[in-house]
Symmetry: C2
Amino acid sequence: MIFADLIYEKIEKSGNPTALGLDPRVEYIPDSIREKAGNDADSVLLFNERLIDILSDIIPVVKFQSAYYELLGPAGIAVLQKSMAYAKGRGMVVILDAKRNDIGSTAAAYAGAYLSDGHFAADALTVNAYLGSDGVRPFIDACKCYGKGIFILVKTSNPSSHEIQDLKLSDGMTVFEKMAEMVNGWGDGLVGSHGYNSVGAVAGATYPDELKRLRNAMPASFLLVPGYGTQGGGAADVANGFDENGNGAVVNSSRGIMCAWESDRLKGIFSHERFAEAARDEAIHMKNALSAAIGKENIKGE
Amino acid sequence: MIFADLIYEKIEKSGNPTALGLDPRVEYIPDSIREKAGNDADSVLLFNERLIDILSDIIPVVKFQSAYYELLGPAGIAVLQKSMAYAKGRGMVVILDAKRNDIGSTAAAYAGAYLSDGHFAADALTVNAYLGSDGVRPFIDACKCYGKGIFILVKTSNPSSHEIQDLKLSDGMTVFEKMAEMVNGWGDGLVGSHGYNSVGAVAGATYPDELKRLRNAMPASFLLVPGYGTQGGGAADVANGFDENGNGAVVNSSRGIMCAWESDRLKGIFSHERFAEAARDEAIHMKNALSAAIGKENIKGE
């Protein structure tokens, strides 16, 4: 099955277009786990497993942020690998958010590392395409070879994303609109049975107007939408990333779920030790908010 | 000592503005090393050590391409770490070419991974700034804190780099010229005693006219120039990256040195097993070609 169909169908089956963002910082992890593990890397592994165990029946997608694992050195990379395999074993779609970018054989090495059936075997990888097509082709080749996907950075969720991405070109378009046009072309030949292809785009929830324009400009690209919750994007904002049937996007929440126990809504209800239960409560809350915003049915809370 | 001074002085002392690119593919490594090592990751470590041993007295800078190590999984990352430490122990300036990019705390995690005194402790890291200033600030903060440097991708050496980087803006500038302008600003507060600062730029040798313009547009930025040799840039081309005194740039050669034994010039003279001697011959040849092109004295061959 190609990636475009995999993510579409997993989301459809669960009724939940949420990606669990696993960007674990050691301070997010409660004492009991840190004591049991004895070191930072193993703490992260246990923390991830707890979250995956309690969420994999209701959240279909997980996004690992590579930076936090790289920060822990080779042991952190081993934990990334194990966590990815664990999530896959629980039936989750695994996105590695590593924003890799290079050219020719070097891009092919990154694609081999993350999209082949090798050491990491993600279902999809985020890619920065500032280098142009020959920095993207090796990733597309890997998508074709292994049935995998990529998400190209188009419009990111951060305050200064305008500095390069919103620059106005001589033809009236912006840089990010030109990037969206290129993303459209890159998806040819990777179209799945639901009309979406395996070359998706990253489009931030914090710019809802741009998100709407990007949804229309890339009608066959799955959108990976960061910036929900802690970065300020709400359910109504991210709704702009979905098509008229409420499909075609996945919304990431990282700290919002991992640290739900200390959110305004749940503070005082769950202790740090009960972070996993709080995460499940928040995941259901988020799912219902998204469902309402995109016009789909709610699931019951527990 | 801040990075801007470190690289300037190491290059001045050696009289050689070359960076040894260690982008090792397993097929570059001769049988004897592969047999001795017994596995891919350890083969790469022995191969790197041989090259560093034979070149560190004449090449002042080494650039590791992260992709080839990531391709080998956690063991490859451990070899990257060991190779970086080995090169540092031999007195080389260590650049990690990983083109990292993200925002806020995630960018800070990458900066912590590679620019702190932690697991990898590179002297400098390549960074892709498509995300804008708040994707770069955490790296700059790390440069200030640890005396390290970054090289921002401005104009890359690949054929399709024009697709985004050369887009014409409504004010007549190109995207890469706007990026160069931003790089200029990011270097404030990191200026060393030779007039250069620790926020450098990647500017490809394959576009010599652009390289000249970028040298002038970023007068205080050290340039990291890829594309020499196998990608088609010659010594006259890369000369455009240097200032009027022949300073301010470092030229990378990866396959050209690692695989010198099979180059047109050296084929039949060195066997694959003698790759390290061929690499030294090529390094001296390249140094002399660069010296001639930028008007500095040659060193003697051996």
